[in-house]
């Protein structure tokens, strides 16, 4: 656990970057510091490994005052991923990753073996080992940065806007990768970003800072979206927070209703008889949705249903893993107004409506209020 007790940082020019911060970062989770520029989030992070020293107050890492020992020793025990990776341009990828083990005095062979292991863990091909950072893409460099921070297996990992310099697609895959790694490693991670969406996606807990180094709210991301502490947090969290908040509500209690279906090659006359002039969902042999059919548009008489000429469906609601956000999006994006619910294999199990989602939300809120 990392604990800030009344921590203040005042720079020589008088600017207060962090103002009497009290905060506990829980072990084994990702805690995100987020806020606009000048809010003290990066300063707070950098005080944990004494890159910046607090003016007053105490920071404890696993119960020990960080000011008690030698800063270099402290830093070797805390992984650090810096903006734009900050790799050593004159060292190969392998040697970059092996940095901290070498500083800790491991012999060269052991340090390099460990580095190779880490490269594999973060998904870098072994042939990258002998390359120099300038030969890698931004996304690859960032992976090297993560591998380097993890090399000596530190319990704590500090990540200082690590994904800010890569394009949105790569950023998203790096975020997913981090969540996958974290599920495996269970480090205590403090992550700084100015991007609230990144904070909400990655954080087990999110600390929102306001300019002047004041902690505005410290909460789980779902709670942040549902109950912002004040106008500043509300504004900072941004538009659509009600909709995004659905992403933190499980779809477990959501009723899955009926939907008219027809297999490719089925009889059009039979569909007309069953559905009248509504919509039917066309399935393939594995019951996966192919698209929607407006029955009124079928030619007269009887003919096999073709997979061509269907109205494209909306997003799918996976009943086993999706949240209410996925269910609502499936309903809203479906041409028939019925969201298609599928199981883990992608086979259709039924439908959901926007009304069902709103009722489920209301029921969940009632449950919370009662609790």
């Amino acid at each position: 656990m990392i604990e800030f007790r009344g921590v203040t940082k005042r720079f020589p020019d008088g600017t207060v970057a962090v103002d009497s911060l009290d905060l506990q970062v829980e072990s084994g989770g990702i805690t995100v510091f987020v806020g606009p520029s000048g809010c003290g989030k990066t300063t707070s992070l950098r005080m944990i490994n004494r890159m910046i020293e607090p003016t007053s107050g105490t920071i404890l890492v696993h119960g020990d005052d960080i000011m008690a020992g030698d800063p270099a020793e402290l830093r070797r025990g805390i992984g650090y991923v810096i903006q734009q990776a900050g790799l050593f341009p004159h060292r190969t990828i392998l040697d970059n990753v092996a940095t901290v083990p070498v500083l800790l005095g491991w012999d060269k062979k052991r340090a390099r073996d460990r580095a190779a292991e880490l490269m594999e863990l973060v998904g870098l091909a072994p042939e990258m080992a002998k390359r120099y950072p300038s030969q890698l893409s931004g996304g690859q460099q960032q992976r090297v940065g993560v591998a380097r921070a993890l090399a000596a297996d530190p319990p704590v990992l500090l990540m200082d806007e690590p994904f800010s310099a890569v394009d949105p697609v790569v950023r998203e895959s790096l975020q997913d990768e981090l969540l996958r790694l974290q599920a495996e490693l269970g480090k205590t991670i403090v992550f700084v970003t100015h991007d609230i969406d990144e904070a909400i996606k990655l954080g087990d807990k999110v600390a929102v800072f306001r300019v002047g180094g004041i902690l505005a709210q410290y909460d789980e991301p779902g709670a942040l979206l549902a109950r912002p502490a004040d106008d500043f947090v509300d504004n900072f969290v941004g538009r659509d927070r009600g909709y995004r908040g659905l992403g933190f509500r499980s779809g477990d209690g959501l009723p899955v209703g009926e939907v008219h279906t027809v297999a490719v090659g089925g009889s059009s006359a039979a569909v007309r008889a069953e559905v009248g002039d509504g919509w039917a969902l066309v399935l393939d042999a594995a019951k996966r949705p192919q698209g929607w059919l407006r029955v009124a548009d079928l030619p007269a008489g009887d003919a096999p249903i073709s997979a061509d000429g269907l109205v494209a469906g909306g997003s799918l609601y996976n009943t086993e893993s999706d949240t209410l956000r996925g269910a609502l999006d499936a309903a809203l994006s479906s041409p028939s107004g019925l969201g298609v619910a599928v199981d883990a294999d992608g086979a259709v199990v039924g439908s959901v409506t926007a009304d069902d989602v709103l009722s489920a939300l209301a029921a969940a809120r009632d449950g919370e209020d009662a609790a």
Binding site: R75, Y132, S137
Partner: protein, 220 residues
């Protein structure tokens, strides 16, 4: 041009070439050793930079002949002592390199230095294994200028009798013997070219990372 003069005086010429080499390269080494800590200081402290860089500039403007003559007074050496030339050229080298070293260190990306600190490098080790190696390319450029400049300046020492190949000029002038003068000029030019080429090679060897094209082996 009397070609036969050259082989007849082979050992004299080789001796002067060797002297020229020593008189120009020893100051480069001494100057480098002195310039690195001074340049480091200038890169770290605004005050040190404000003092060191202009003083280095002023030092470099002192004419070499003046230094050769004044130094014996300051150092208490004999006027014809080769040490005067070595010290004078070492001063020029320092004057040239302090700026190179300071600029080279200042050009090391702040993000890389911060990353090194955050990894747990202590300042000395960080300097030796991160900042200095990254400064090498700019430093080599400074060393090339200093070396070539020293090789040409040594000849001026001939005026006080210690000038390596420069003595072929003074002697050739005294005797109105162009062959000797041309031999001296050609050899000192060759020496400068070879030394420069060796430094370029050394720089390439010492900085394998700068030879890889940006994103050369990039696959994704």
């Amino acid at each position: 041009m009397i070609w036969a003069w050259i082989p007849r005086n082979g050992s004299l010429i080789l001796g002067l070439l060797g002297e020229h080499l020593i008189l120009s390269l020893v100051p480069v080494l001494v100057g480098l050793v002195l310039a690195v800590p001074l340049g480091w200081l200038a890169s770290r402290s605004r005050v040190a930079r404000a003092v060191l860089i202009p003083s280095a500039g002023v030092l470099y403007t002192v004419p070499s002949l003046v230094l050769f003559i004044v130094l014996p007074v300051i150092l208490g050496t004999r006027i014809l002592d080769p040490i005067n030339v070595v010290v004078a050229l070492a001063i020029y080298t320092v004057a040239l390199l302090v700026r190179s070293v300071a600029d080279a260190l200042a050009a090391v990306p702040a993000m890389v230095v911060a990353a090194a600190t955050a990894m747990g490098f202590r300042p000395t080790r960080r300097f030796v294994s991160v900042e200095f190696p990254l400064a090498v390319p700019v430093l080599i450029a400074g060393l090339r200028v200093a070396t070539v400049s020293n090789i040409s300046l040594v000849s001026v020492g001939a005026a006080i009798g210690v000038g390596g190949l420069g003595q072929l000029f003074t002697d050739g002038f005294d005797r109105s013997f162009p062959t000797e003068i041309i031999t001296g000029i050609v050899l000192s030019m060759l020496l400068a070219l070879v030394a420069d080429a060796l430094l370029v090679g050394l720089g390439r060897y010492a900085t394998p990372w700068s030879r890889v094209g940006p994103r050369a082996g990039r696959t994704a």
